[in-house]
Symmetry: C2
Subunit: 467 residues, 2 copies
């Protein structure tokens, strides 16, 4: 615990101890044998596993849309691991079902619905799938029994900046990736409502059945928020289910200052929201929230297994909510978030969001001040996208050669940083733009760190990249 | 930890502290407020959560197909909770991806394949879905892009004793529950191969497209094993994908004595196997294993998101296996099982299986000896299904009234046991049989307990039920 919690979060330690795959395989004794190992050996395994694992709690881990550690959540996670519950029936998980219900209700309140329904899922991708299937069931309940063969071609609409899980969902659900119509977004990455309407009309003209719009509140790369209110107008006009993938951006709902980013979300039929990202609830903590409170979720998903969901129990079986899920055994993911919420209160969570966005602002200001750093665009949210321009490129004209060379900069810097263990930061090419870094600052440790480290190393190593 | 690990596993303590939902809600302060609570209050919440949670580690928890606690797995789970990894790319989860690979390879070895592929999923239900979608992709790769509209009606075949997730999968994947053909099973709950062949022919005659057979190795209620070898013959004859849902029964593969239950499993195209059940790896630990080693899993599932699965990384990106998944963030579920396997060796896991089945045998013998207990059928595996016949029914003729009255016995005894906190045991009606108990003995604590408690209380409370 010293190693994995304290040392891992120490800024003077490495964020990762890089080893290439083949070498790491040789270093770790991975093979599973006939006989067991002694405790000394097992402890050494644990130390090695910790040593060579990435410290996602480290203040310089900026590689994904999550970071940092919340000790209240962690305590709750230790409790659930030790109790080893499975959340399907009240008889087996009385506390965790009630806790899940309390958390869902509170999240629903922040969305702005008077009532609703929901379920915690293993990932925002899965929540998006649930929503798509639920919308399909609402559109045509017969599909549950009869399937899609012989049905009109269903069409899903989402922006070209959406998370890739929308495509995966369409494929998995038998709708097909070709039947995902990607709506153009503007230069900031926001879906263009007029383009959405055009595509709805196109789908109708083709004789297919548009039924589901997945808007994004906080896109993965740029952190853009689709204009929900205008999209909701179109959905209402054409009778389409509006789902909001707020896996990343949903947390802004807790901030009175920033909740306007999701203006109109109360008009959605369903929302995916992952407290394991900015709110640091721990992987995984992901809710699908549904506006319907007539039992649609249960009607859509239930299989009424008589060995598990007996109807002759001695308590109110409406508390046995597991049949709303595609899973059978299911983890008590709501509890860790409940514990954090209890500990910090809504105001503490709000502060967490405000701080992340203030730090993002700070980073933007620093990038603007410094030579060799160039913002990709003014951020709306916590995703700061930028290029580092090495000295050799600073005076070059921004032509083909420039971009070609710049494209190789981020991967090369990343390689150096990883091998040094100094910082972990994501990069990607995007929409015709060459490789750039994306930095997201979530960990509360960053506040403490800012004054103590040199400004040059706040966002990235003093880059000495020479092409 | 004293409360949740030591006390919870103490046979002299209660297995549950029953409270009805409304009362428990009032006892727990579930509401999430604006301001946080102090540490004293938070500790009290933890104590309450533990107090009112079911102790699945308690020696008298027989309610599900999992029980007990493995301390090695638990240590590993604490480590992963603290490291908070997400298993998609080697750069973020170097150790856990290699560990997953090592565990999958070893499981594949026990299935009897020379090579293969696989992935850990949040539940056996999800594994079954993966397999069904994978088989569909293999059957017609175009479905990934084009969807099912306009395609012939796909048909899934499984036994009438299968897990309900097969039906949920067919619904979720757009195949439709009506297109699941349930094959008759014999009186022991095993799929009848001749009936399977009949249904395949029927589906063909109807012009539909049978493509997937889901056999079960260890059914949920009766613990029956479908005759895999004979089913494989039929699948080969008709070119059908053979999936084996060995979520429950797969662990028998580790026992040289009992692996014959799964004779023929090496002929399957895919296998679902949950080490969180009999092998006690902790909820959840569920692998889908695939015989294909040509990359089918990746081709079927990949979406090639460029922000996550960059191709210009400085290491061998074939280690970035996350794109095989429908999830984006994914937990390191293989690690806890790896740790247990390392600690116990294959022989230790084998012993765990052998012990569970020896205890099942012991229970059967005891049931046969005692007045008022009646076996439903001779078990093949660890599921012991039986009725308790109260004195008032023992001399009654087995007619309508007898069964009608017996039907109410199990729920009534269960209610008493729950309220007393003495034992948790599942019951269900099944295939026209009135409510009976199903007991599964997994916890290694049971060995220690046997000599210390009165024989009458081993399997159930001294039942004083009078109708």
């Amino acid at each position: 615990m010293e190693e994995v919690i304290k040392k891992a979060a120490d800024v003077t330690e490495k964020v990762c101890e890089w080893q290439p795959p083949e070498k790491l395989k040789a270093l770790l004794d991975l093979e599973l044998k006939d006989t067991g190992e002694n405790h000394q050996k097992l402890l050494q395994f644990c130390r090695d596993v910790i040593k060579f694992s990435v410290k996602t709690n480290h203040p310089r881990f900026f590689n994904q849309l999550y970071a940092g550690i919340d000790y209240y959540s962690l305590a709750a996670r230790f409790i659930t691991e030790a109790l080893n519950p499975s959340v399907y029936t009240y008889e087996v998980s009385p506390v965790f079902l009630l806790v899940e219900d309390a958390v869902l209700k509170k999240m629903i309140e922040f969305i702005g619905w008077e009532e609703g329904d929901g379920i915690f899922n293993p990932g925002g991708s899965v929540s998006n799938m649930y929503a798509m299937n639920l919308a399909r069931y609402k559109y045509c309940p017969d599909i549950k029994e009869q399937g899609l063969s012989g049905m009109p071609r269903l069409v899903v609409l989402t922006s070209d900046e959406c998370h890739y899980s929308v495509k995966k969902a369409a494929s998995f659900l038998g709708i097909g990736t070709q039947n995902v119509y990607f709506i153009k977004s503007d230069e900031r990455g926001k879906m263009i409502p007029e383009e959405l309407e055009k595509q709805v009309l196109r789908a109708r003209k083709e004789g297919s059945a548009p039924f589901f719009v997945s808007a994004t509140a906080g896109t993965t790369v740029l952190g853009a928020f689709d204009p929900l209110d205008e999209i909701a107008d179109i959905c209402e006009r054409y009778g389409l289910w509006l789902h909001v993938d707020a896996s990343w951006g949903g947390s802004a709902l807790l901030s009175r200052k920033h909740c306007r980013l999701l203006h109109g979300i109360h008009r959605a039929n369903s929302v995916a929201w992952n407290p394991h990202k900015m709110l640091m609830a721990g992987i995984q903590c992901c809710a699908l929230l549904v506006k319907d409170s007539s039992g649609l979720l249960k009607r859509c998903y239930s299989a009424n297994a008589s060995y598990l969901f007996q109807q002759d129990k001695f308590y109110d079986v409406s508390y046995d909510t597991g049949d709303k899920s595609i899973q059978c055994s299911r983890r008590a993911d709501a509890f860790k978030f409940w514990m954090t919420w209890k500990a910090l209160g809504t105001t503490g969570l709000e502060e967490r969001v405000n701080r992340a966005l203030a730090l993002a602002r700070y980073l933007v200001d620093e990038i603007k001040k410094r030579e060799g750093f160039q913002l990709l665009l003014e951020p709306e949210y916590a995703n700061i996208c930028f290029w580092y321009i090495p000295p050799s490129l600073r005076n070059m004209e921004e032509g083909h050669e420039y971009w070609e060379k710049l494209h190789h900069v981020a991967p090369a810097i990343k390689e150096r940083m990883m091998k040094k263990g100094s910082i972990m930061l994501g990069y990607q090419p995007h929409r015709g733009k060459v490789n750039f870094f994306r930095q997201v600052i979530i960990s509360p440790k960053i506040y403490l760190v800012i004054p103590e480290i040199e400004p040059e190393t706040l966002c990235m190593e003093r880059a000495q990249y020479e092409l």
